[in-house]
Point group: C3
Chain length 268, copies 3
């Protein structure tokens, strides 16, 4: 991917993004990917996910509304993507809520090398706990800041970790960025995080290099700028914002990404 | 819940509403709950629903697009909610359509004490038939009016029963209210009833008392007033109404609820 | 169905359209059907689909996000519809993508007589390949044009075949029509093809005759004109288009269908 013109490149290459996702957000994720210029495919069954991965330019694994069958599919798709060097994004939706999700996340972390993991602070913190617990190590300090959690998780799991919040944090465990684009309405619609995970998939796909840190940071800026554009276009609440966000993503340009991004490297 | 300021209270308490719902409406129900100020969680698998119930302030069980696995989850979640005194709302979507749904509804009515059951006239009438049939009692008089059906069902099942229609009916079997808020566009979008069931969950959650009759009536007024606000804001049909309804719920105030409700107690 | 006033007739008869569809588009298909004046029912489980078919005026089988359970349901519903002479529409979503979908499609083609099959060029081409391969016949010439593919598939499978694209093609294998209504934004939202398959179901239902060719052509014109109306009403991108399309379908009249259709018979 030409990271100087990522959006133009996505629209030219039209990458196929394989999403194994949940019933709440499947439609929004598909429309988000179409809007940015990628092609979504939403296969779920273990009978076909490996074959779909062979066609895909990136794979996004989402833990929302999990079932045992879905978890088998997540595992099979993730392993296959690793075999084929297709980047894999993990969105550990609600991982802290139940033992079922924690066990599933642990299996996934043990079986799949993720390129990027994206969640909110509680989810990522829970992932470290799950991971460390499975290794018999220390518990998480609940007072830890998102930046510290992102960096620890990135180092522990050797991947890019993104934490979504009022300010988004993206880290590879060594270099860490804060992204200030976005709008509070993103927190008022369901699935905005899942949509962002899909967008990250589009930004990671077709990369010549594996500079996934930069790609993930730019995906965050792009999604946040689209949210800002939607609000500026005059939405009246979360319902019209949801439609406006899709419009804004479809209309987004690399120029806007270059000029309107608000991110900075955090010096640790 | 402070029933004089229910919306303010929902926004302050941000109750977690556990929805076991169908693939058609899951997104709309989640966005509806976020708009009113609650937090949705949409866990479905029997492996995790009981644990999710332990976190929840209300549980909403929806019979749409049922599968045997989903029914197991509905039963497990309902029983667990009863054990923990968490209010449970039942939305018997399409219960009259198939024996599969009727049998599931019968199992649920036998195993779970519901706080509120909400459906359309045919669904609630079907529930009485199912219930009485399982007890070997009388058949339903198909000419019966919604008010009579609501009252009979409420007495039979010892819970609040709400029937949605041009005029909504809410009864505890003794006191009965008619709610005149709303708009005909609610009948032109899929899932408006399921969304209302979610809103009832938000209104029931965190109650100091168990005055579920009042809470259910107020939930109906709030949802209906939001529909009226959406129409007044200038929608062009069911597509824009759906977004406008979410905007209106997000913008709704207790003052509007107090001044714009149109409901009356029915003297039997 | 009175094909001179199909929309008025759909609104008068309010046909029940049974959709076995995927989690990405279920909500949009239901809202599309409500907008045109039909009633959607979205039952999925093999335990109830045959009973739902007995209530239905048309059945729409969609291959998106398939699972083994879903395929069992598609087969059972399709066979039951054949037994009852209820028209069946097949939407072979992504059939070329995996062996799992190809095998499922082959089973469906062998077990069910479809009234209409609708897909994009690749899907319909893949169906011919699947069908012929299963019969040990020739491979598909990848250079073949949509018109030729539609006609061959219609003759091979003895049904109406519709191919969606910049220009839509509808053929019964002998007479073939091209439909020029529509807008490029239909390709920018997920599920527009699935929505059209639902609309075809509404147009086929309650027909006095089985002139499914005319009904399918008119369904395409109606959907395309609605898209044009949505764009003319001033949408800002795919997000607002999606809502505008539903508004336009709800507002569509037979007069508009008569005066604004752009289709022609292709002389082979």
């Amino acid at each position: 991917m030409d990271l100087n013109h990522p959006i133009q490149n996505i629209r030219k290459m039209n990458p196929l993004i394989h999403n194994i996702t949940n019933l709440v957000v499947a439609n929004d994720v598909a429309n988000t990917l179409l809007a940015i210029g990628a092609s979504p495919i939403m296969a779920l069954a273990v009978e076909e996910v490996e074959e779909v991965v062979t066609l895909a330019d990136a794979v996004v694994l989402n833990l929302g509304t999990p079932t045992p069958q879905r978890i088998d599919s997540l595992l099979a798709a993730g392993k296959k993507a690793n075999d084929l060097n297709v980047p894999v994004i993990f969105d550990p939706v609600g991982v802290g809520a139940t033992h079922f999700r924690q066990t599933a996340a642990q299996q996934l972390l043990e079986s799949v090398d993720f390129s990027v993991i994206r969640g909110n602070t509680a989810e990522i913190a829970s992932l470290i706990g799950v991971h460390r617990q499975s290794k018999g190590v220390d518990a998480l300090d609940s007072e830890e800041l998102p930046v510290d959690i992102a960096e620890r998780c990135a180092r522990d799991l050797n991947c890019i970790v993104a934490i979504s919040g009022v300010v988004d944090i993206v880290s590879d465990g060594h270099a860490t960025y804060s992204i200030h684009n976005g709008d509070s309405l993103l927190g008022r619609i369901t699935g905005s995080g899942c949509m962002l995970s899909g967008i990250i998939g589009a930004f990671l796909s077709n990369m010549a290099s594996t500079d996934w840190l930069t790609a993930t940071v730019k995906a965050h800026c792009a999604f946040g700028i689209a949210a800002e554009k939607a609000v500026a276009s005059g939405v009246s609440g979360p319902g019209t914002f949801r439609a406006g966000l899709i419009d804004a993503l479809a209309d987004l340009t690399d120029d806007e990404l270059t000029h309107n991004h608000r991110m900075e490297k955090i010096n640790v």
